[in-house]
Structures are given as structure tokens and as C-alpha cells.
Amino acid sequence: MELLIQLAFIAILLVIGLVVGGMVERRHFSSLAMREADLKLVMVFNEKTPPANVEYRDAFLVAGSVVLGEDYFKRFAASLRSFFGGNMRMYESLMDRGRREAILRMKEEAHRRGARAVFNVRLETSSLGDGGSGRGMFSAEFIAYGTALIQSKG
């Protein structure tokens, strides 16, 4: 009986994770798509230096970071998946959202400060999990940074 209650409790958490987590994820994706379209004017490059013919009057560091956490459903599915091994599909969307959000936030900063291009863009990810003990939630920080350039007029 006690076991049944525990199982029911886990099932409820799983449903909440699936429904709410899924909703949050879908909303985030559509918000990303919208903001990416808005900020299309700010260009990002991974080259270290701008082309020689580009003249600029100012350059500064811009960065954007975000921390995303998993939902209960992802966590449970991932723990099952990590037992059998294979593609951790449930985390792919999480990582994708994180990277895109970090780049967007970086672009937002560049845009706010009047830059139209960011060079030498780098992405870094670090896990804020608890050292892989398997307990506790997994979350990850995504940071995007680069050198924003304000081009000279003309």
C-alpha cells in the first residue's frame, strides 16, 4: 500500500513534469524564434577578427548567459536512459534552448549598445549538477560571449 502511494506520487510528478515542462519548452522555443527574427540585424561571427575592409570606431565585450533546469519527467527519463545508454534525447532540446537563449541575450546586449556585429563568438556550457551523484536536479549554464563592433559611418 505504501509502495502504491509512493508510485502514485511519482506518477503525478511525472505527469506534471511532462505537461508543464512541455508547455514551458514549447513557449520558450516560440519566444526564441520570435526574438531571433527581431534581432536578425545583429550579426554574429565566429572569426577572431573582422575582415580587413571593415572599419570600426568601438569594440567591446558582450556576453549573455542563462541557466536552464530540467523538469521531473526529463530527469526520470534521463535516469532510465543513462541505465541503458544511448541518445539522451530529452536533454537535446534543453541544450539547444540554452545555447540559443545565451546567444540571443548576447545579441540583445550588443543591440542595446548600438553594435550591429559581434565577432569571435564563443559558447561555453557548464553543468550545475551535483557532481553526478544521481540525486538532485541537473541544470546547466550556457554563456555566449564575443566582441561587439560599432562600425564607422561611411
Binding site: 527519463a77 532510465l80 541518445n87 530529452m90 540559443r100 556585429a117
Partner: protein
């Protein structure tokens, strides 16, 4: 500057597929796995339990005695316990125990004459038994019998199927407490006829080795049988399972047939039990 950031397809970074279906498959796989391991454990039962190294069993319980309450209120408790431990260690030394197997003998206040072997190499002797023992030889027979159970790994294997499941959990979690209820039942009920007979044989061999004769051994079962006769109800675990009392007494007496009472008298108990109980 002739550059632009083109629209990139963003859906390439996330694999297609329904997460619910994947989850269902994973959960099903896990359930099948657990069911298989569970079934194997259940049916492997006691056999599997005997494979757990004694060291592991000991590490689960340490100094704790599982399944039997150990109460002390007798002023000579410690002295008697030391004596029992001394006797137990001596006998254990003669019983060819596997390396690393340790025997810890406890003394508990309980007027029912009884002795138990439980998990982790712990043996419990009740005050009721100690009080009724006519000689050290008889006491040695009891302790030898219980050491025989430990040597044969009876306590851990007796817990059978359901405990084997708990045992897998114990192996996973490193905590042996969940085995408590099962072993309590098994220890109180006694072991199988075969296990009892084997423990008798091992105890008897140790007794012979220690004193050079098997005299006094049959006293144990005679006393226990008398107690049962008087008391009517409670059956000491030492007697509860089969080899019928008469059988056992006959076997032990046969072993002591060549014993010369005058040449090798029985040794008295070293520590007297004070009168007055709690």
C-alpha cells in the same frame, strides 16, 4: 560589409520522436529487467544468500544483533558474556571457520532456555539457558551448535526468497537493516532439519576436539525437552525444528558412549549466575 545571418533551420539540433513513446519503452525495459532480477533472486533465494561473503554480512550489521533482543540487567552480565565469548572463540578456533569469520557471543536476560545464531556471526545465549546448564561441556555443545549455524551460513540463507530481494536492496544500498524482520522470524523459528543436524555435527566435533569426549552434550537437549514438557507452550528455537528430541539425545549419547565419567569429569561453569532476575 556584405554579410548577413541567414535563417538557419533550428530543428536539426533536436532529434525527432515522441518523448512519451521513448519513456514508455525505457520504463518497460526497466520493468522487465527488474522483474527478471526479482524472479531470479526470489527463486535463487537462500542459495544466493550463502554466496554473500561473510565479511559483507558482517559489515552490514557490525556490532548489532538483528532479530533477537539483547537485554542486560544482571550485575554479572559482562563477566558471563566474557566467559561465553572466551568459550565461543576457543570452539570457533577448533571448527575450521573460513578466514575472516568472527563469532560474537552475547548474553541476554530471558528465562526461556534458548540460544540463537543470527546475522553477522552473532550468537545469543539466554540467561534461562545459562542457568540450566549443568556443565561447561553442555554449554559448549550449545555454542558449538550455534557456531555450526554461522559456519553453514544458515542465518543468512534461511531468510529465503523475500529476504533475498531485500538482500539485493541491501547490496545496493549498503544497509542491512531491512533484513531484520525476516531474520527475526527465521531465527525464532529455527532452521531446517538438515541444517540443525549439520549444526549438531559441527558442534559435536568442536566439543570432542575441545574436551576429548562428548560427555554432557546430550544434557542440553534433555534439559530443553524437560523445559518444554513443564512449560507446555514456548518451544526453544534450539529444539523447535525436528530432529526429534529423542533422536537428538540418542545421537549425542552414542557419540559420548566411550566417555569415562571418572577419568574426564565435566567441567563446571566458570562464572556463576547470581540469583535474582529482572
Amino acid at each position: 560589409m556584405q554579410y548577413e545571418n541567414p535563417d538557419v533551420p533550428h530543428d536539426v539540433n533536436v532529434s525527432k520522436g515522441n518523448s512519451l513513446t521513448e519513456f514508455a519503452r525505457l520504463a518497460l525495459g526497466m520493468a522487465v529487467l527488474i522483474a527478471l532480477v526479482g524472479a531470479a533472486t526470489w527463486f535463487g533465494g537462500g542459495r544466493l544468500a550463502r554466496l554473500v561473503p561473510f565479511k559483507t554480512e558482517r559489515s552490514w550489521f557490525g556490532e548489532r544483533v538483528v532479530g533477537v533482543a539483547v537485554r542486560s540487567c544482571n550485575p554479572s552480565h559482562e563477566e558471563i558474556e566474557r566467559y561465553l565469548q572466551r568459550l565461543g572463540s576457543t570452539l570457533a578456533g577448533r571448527m575450521d571457520l573460513p578466514p575472516g569469520m568472527t563469532i560474537t557471543v552475547h548474553y541476554t536476560e530471558d528465562d526461556v532456555p534458548n540460544a540463537f545464531a543470527t546475522l553477522g556471526g552473532h550468537i545469543v545465549v539466554t540467561s534461562g539457558l545459562y542457568r540450566r546448564m549443568p556443565s561447561e561441556n553442555a554449554l559448549a555443545m550449545v555454542i558449538g551448535h550455534e557456531i555450526g549455524h554461522v559456519k553453514a551460513r544458515d542465518p543468512i540463507s534461511a531468510v529465503g526468497g523475500s529476504a533475498a530481494m531485500s538482500m539485493v536492496l541491501a547490496l545496493l544500498t549498503g544497509q542491512g537493516d531491512i533484513l531484520g524482520p525476516q531474520v527475526a522470524r527465521a531465527v525464532q523459528l529455527g532452521y531446517s532439519r538438515k541444517a540443525e543436524r549439520k549444526a549438531d555435527d559441527l558442534g559435536l566435533a568442536a566439543l570432542l576436539d575441545q574436551y576429548g569426549h562428548a560427555g554432557g552434550a546430550s544434557d542440553v537437549f534433555r534439559i530443553l525437552a524437560d523445559f518444554r514438557g513443564d512449560d507446555g507452550g514456548a518451544t526453544p528455537a534450539l529444539l523447535s525444528t525436528h530432529p526429534s528430541d529423542a533422536d537428538r539425545i540418542a545421537r549425542l549419547e552414542k557419540a559420548a558412549a566411550s566417555w569415562n565419567r571418572e577419568a574426564a569429569p565435566l567441567r563446571p561453569l566458570e562464572v556463576a549466575q547470581p540469583i535474582g532476575r529482572c
